[in-house]
Symmetry: C3
Subunit: 349 residues, 3 copies
């Protein structure tokens, strides 16, 4: 089901290859040499294909599936093929404690990453004082400023602009139409197209005589193994650093204001906005369209439900929801209470 | 009132031209040769100009208008000029069942679309294996990758990047600074500047040892007659397709995650976000800043009020509002109930 | 604490320099020749550095600060160094009625803006009929269309596209990857990277036979001293003007639809969306992620809390909150009432 125009794909994996890749034993009685040719969905996959079942929403698809291998958890294994006619389920069920991770390993095996062919496009404008590491791929019309440093094996797609003095680590993947200034970026950072990093933040003395700007003289510092979506904005600090920790994942259209700190491994889903000087701990998960006010401290391991609006500090480990955000169980009760008010009214009370 | 620098404008239309264009009879007693020179607003237009009145918010402007022609519906016709001194209303009222459509026809007549002069800017970097249809306009610094196909009479503005193997249909209009990869795009598709289509989605196994990426090996498929706003993000599928149906309209800053399906003729207003694998039916209308969670099914003809947050499936034809979204009448009652609670408190109850 | 790679910094200012810059007297008994070398935070600054204290959230930092100078207000002055051991506070407290403005003056003094060196990059594609004022800096791969006018001393960073007939005033600062069409822009306007201005708005007759476009034949007019963030979208008018008044500040990822009017000095924080034909007065402050429906009038001096959704006109001077937005005091009472409902339920009532 993958469009062969866009991806190089391995022809097939044997059952023993599959089991070795995901570190599970070949099921008893199964033919270890049986070949599987692709990854597909529970619903549409056939007997030569492999599918993932880790979200209970797809139970019905799992019950009727005809895929050759189903990766799933112990808890879901009994649903696989359960609604097929007795004895017609041919699916090999591979149980794994982290089936989504196992799935990722198989996708990687079917679609090996193409090897970079180092090249610098003749139209790239690279300052003489810039340093380009070995093995880099620099696309058409890329602009790289004075004294900028691009680490080895980093790929910068066409049209991206790296301003003076920016440092980018090794093995980076920077897409097209990205603008980066005033930033220090670690190794293995992936940035999707259209993203802007390091521009001056929204800082001024508000005044009826005319707003009065505060020069923004800080930087952005991004750790290693970070991924940043498309059309994201990360403003540089007014003083000091806006900091994105190691392993952070930022989805599309997210706004990170000046002096924000995002702790290691935190995840920000699409359209989230974090206002200035707010500090998020490690392993924080912020669902889509959440807004977080400025100058707050959000603890380690906090989870924030979609569309929440956080106006106060949140302690470690809490899950919050709503606008203004409250502990998630209170938010559920608010929702129920509101519905009861309405029901009362519907019944003429 | 139109700045002649930016638009080519026809000098005038006669009353009979106007009536013919919108398929209504010339009103009895009117001079079919009377000339009208422009489109304007009810408030500011003069006796040689034409205005639209289809939104009741502008009733007061309609009552005092001095425009030459007012396009409106049967229901609103009696308001036109109603507050002018007796007998001074000179406005010709043209009643049309779809006055906004009629208005569009007249604007099109006054501002004929300029004819494309086929050209490929010498700075465009076009791979030798790419195919550019006849009559295309390719702007400065455009980059077109290997084996990409651009249909006839498509215009690609300066600085847009079309990656390897992308196909774009005929009569497309792609603005500046657009990035497109891993996509198949139909005929007559308009994409506004800064939009990113086909980048990898937000897919990884979340893990405290370090998030673990799932390669995103699907594509984006866009139907015909689609319009996509500025700084929009449409991620490619993790497997299979992210699909945008025929005639869909997507406003600025919208987020479409991997494997989303948007049915034909649906409309997504600015800053909407649709999470992964959610399926919207045909003729769905989603107002601004709405968030829709992942793996949901939103039926045909559903309407979603602005800023709603949808967390469950919605059946065909329903109108929903609120966060979490509920049927719109329930949401209205919730709003009233909340206001009553507050009123009670204000009165010391 | 400032990364010297990215900024030119003055070595030091004497106490008398500092006091002169912000128009306060040198405190009695202080050494007017004492040198201060940098700006820093209350928490991390040392005896040779200057910090700002104007947000009560940082009171604890102020009480323990060891900075050389603290800029603050009369009301906060007594906190500075209050928790240090008796007699060990060496901080010179400079009281100012607008300490953030005073701070801005000092940052400007330490970081003088670099002087532009006029230049036009050889790769810029500038139409022969375009006019470039004296002293401009035009970056690599900039595209400037026919008859466009760029005022004196304006800087346009690499990769920005200025379409035909656009006028930009003097002393502008236009960052990379900006797209501007159909616009007239005043003096001293700053636009951050990735922003799109002047593209056609979201205007069509909705129709089950297929949506029917209304040509968008208006412009965008932007006053002077305006600042516009990254990845912002400002659509041109369908007819007439989308207008951004003088001194307006627009943060990242904001959506301004066609025919919107933003009055002078108004402030729109990140991810705000304003729907078509809505009119904001002067000095309106709209916090992050607010949505404002179309065809509304928002009065002068209105303040809107973050994430609010405005569905009705708002009179001058009001502060509103919530979705749908209500007067802020009502919104606070709604919030409290909801919490009481939940508390009642928790207690088994």
């Amino acid at each position: 089901m993958t469009d062969s125009r866009f991806y190089l794909k391995r022809d097939a994996l044997s059952l023993s290859d599959v089991c070795a890749l995901i570190s599970v034993p070949v099921p008893e009685g199964a033919n270890k040499d049986q070949l599987f040719t692709a990854i597909h969905t529970l619903k549409e996959g056939n007997a030569a294909e492999i599918a993932l079942f880790h979200n209970p929403k797809y139970r019905e698809d799992a019950e009727h599936t005809r895929v050759g291998i189903c990766l799933t958890t112990d808890a879901f294994a009994s649903y696989v093929g359960a609604q097929l006619e007795n004895g017609t389920c041919q699916t090999i069920v591979l149980v794994h404690p982290e089936p989504y991770r196992a799935y990722a390993l198989l996708v990687r095996a079917f679609f090996p990453e193409p090897i970079l062919k180092p090249s610098i496009h003749p139209t790239a404008v690279i300052a003489q004082t810039a340093t380009i590491g070995e093995g880099c791929v620099i696309g058409a019309y890329v602009v790289i400023g004075e004294r900028a440093v691009i680490g080895a094996y980093t790929k910068i797609d066409s049209h991206t602009v790296i301003h003076d003095d920016v440092c980018i680590g090794c093995n980076g993947r920077i897409a097209s139409h990205v603008t980066i200034s005033h930033s220090l970026i670690g190794d293995r950072v992936l940035i999707k197209p259209g993203t802007c990093i390091g521009q001056q933040g929204f800082g001024f003395h508000m005044d009826e005589k005319g707003h009065f700007d505060v020069p923004q003289v800080g930087i952005v510092e991004i750790g290693y193994d970070v991924q940043i979506g498309s059309n994201v904005c990360i403003d540089r600090a007014s003083l000091g650093k806006t900091k994105i920790g190691n392993g952070v994942r930022i989805d599309n259209l997210v706004q990170i204001a000046h002096n924000v700190y995002i702790g290691d491994q935190s995840v920000l889903v699409a359209q989230v906005g974090v206002a200035g000087s707010t500090h998020l701990g490690n392993f924080v998960i912020v669902a889509g369209q959440v807004g977080i006010a400025g100058h707050l401290t959000i603890g380690n391991g906090v989870k924030v439900a979609a569309q929440s609006g956080i106006m106060r500090d949140v302690v470690d480990g809490m899950t919050v929801a709503g606008s203004p955000a409250v502990p998630v169980q209170d938010w559920r009760m608010q929702t129920v209470a509101l519905q009861r008010l309405v029901k009362g009214r519907k019944n003429g009370k």
